[in-house]
Symmetry: C2
Subunit: 341 residues, 2 copies
Amino acid sequence: MTQKPLDLKTPYLLFLGDAQEDGLAKTAFGIHEWCPEKCKGQMRLDGCKVDLGLEDLNPVEAKTVHNVGTLVIGVANLGGYVPDNWVAPLCGALRAGLDIAAGLHTRLNDIEFLRETAKQLGRTIYDVRQTTQELKVGNGQKRSGKRLLTVAADCAIGKKYAALAIAKEMQSRGMAADFRATGQTGILIAGGGIGIDAVVADFISGAAEMVSPENAKDHWDIIEGQGALFHPAYAGVALGLLHGSQPDALVICHDPDRSHTAFMEGFALPDMETVIRRNIEAAQLTNPHVKVAGISVNTSRMTDDDAKFYMADLSQQTKLPVCDPVRTGMNNIVDYLVHDR
Amino acid sequence: MTQKPLDLKTPYLLFLGDAQEDGLAKTAFGIHEWCPEKCKGQMRLDGCKVDLGLEDLNPVEAKTVHNVGTLVIGVANLGGYVPDNWVAPLCGALRAGLDIAAGLHTRLNDIEFLRETAKQLGRTIYDVRQTTQELKVGNGQKRSGKRLLTVAADCAIGKKYAALAIAKEMQSRGMAADFRATGQTGILIAGGGIGIDAVVADFISGAAEMVSPENAKDHWDIIEGQGALFHPAYAGVALGLLHGSQPDALVICHDPDRSHTAFMEGFALPDMETVIRRNIEAAQLTNPHVKVAGISVNTSRMTDDDAKFYMADLSQQTKLPVCDPVRTGMNNIVDYLVHDR
């Protein structure tokens, strides 16, 4: 019932390379934040300035002392390529008995020496951006279990974080819930999932159907959203994911300071009412009972008082629970889901 | 200005294999219908029962007498694979000096003997389903020139045919107009285009932007639609194509006899008003001035009188020109576009 398209061996050793700043190690920080129990140590090359506060381990120590299963690449260079000075240490990890997982633009399996070393040793290198699963086109047929998808007016606005926080809140209450990853960092955090924006266009909703397979009636899949219906480059991904996820509940992720689509020129973001209406209308194709279960906002640039006022006001306007996953946690949204159904 | 992502050498020799029925040679019939001037002959294997009415030529005759550039595979087997008995004749075509183009599921380039023969001879085998162009993500920036996209409530409902008919009507009036192909048969007809449903999901709208590049102010690109916003498998493709095409005009393709999504279970089609509203709303993201320019219907199962009545009624209800590309031609829609702008 909970078969995952990808199953990374745990626990992890997080590879930080020689990263010079925390911003380049967002993946490592994300994995450490959301699954500390899986993270047994960090592996740093000479000159690395990033520190997760984990024990520095080499692959042999990681394997023999902590039974680590996978070295996870937790850094990206600008450009996403693999620097030459990573190859020897990554081979060392394979020789020590570890698999390797990465979500880089450049596939580790495209580096012949790494690929051949892994093959000879019987290890697996997971390039998680590209799924190796055989995909099907979507069929739109109802699957049992409950599903929540995070959506938004734009990309890079907190959809992964909100989904992780909701799954965690549900799990802490003893509810049956899984975070379902659709992007590379999410996949490395979850240890499974499909990079939905890297599948062939015909298979977007089919891949989304595989990400949240049939499950027990009361089980919640909390699915990481991608793209946005209002994004001139990524709306197709967002719509296919919405249809394939057939969500019972949507959570709208919102940044009160963002007025225009990020990294694009000239696209004003729609208002909240439009974001809700358009997502609901589209989602009704595969789940006529879909509802919005709340709004997840980023109030990090507000004072406590301002945030409190802002969230209360937005909640009153929309008649929906409003949470900030960092400031308030996702209690109100999960309460709403529990009491509404 | 009219750079195409793919440029097949013309004229064509149409390969019919040993097809037993016309239905398997839809691609050949389509190419012959829409670009008879490009079709110098047909090539049939023993036992072939399909006849386009073209001269039977072997590749050497085609090359030496008619200067044919490309052998175009105009048939598909059920399953889309390449039968063993095609390989020798296809190699013969390469040796005679022809390129080969195909839109099959199985890539001809995956057949080693064909690939190597082409390589040795300096010929090109075009598997047009998969583009070889380097794609970019969409940027949403306005391009000069005018664009029309055919859309619908469902797949396989006449979007390619309508686009071809509109482009032909415009060309017959001396208007600057090109059909822009987004699927394999369309690409073989046009000699260029991108199979939009075969690109990586991140690049749908970027690929659509490449399909209809910047052009002269009064030039019309008539773009072949794909999928449908209301299709549980292919809506992502449709939305990305809609955004990347940034159409000035939409033509809605409609089959009065179809009540449910084809080849799917349990999806009733939306009414015309919803089809129009949802497509216009979505298209406004990249072109706020988008309008519906008409409805293209398939009245092939009606009598002349019934069709006339039906089309007049639909036109009155929607206040839009209604055409059947086969029965009436696209005059009214093109008139509407000419007078409206």
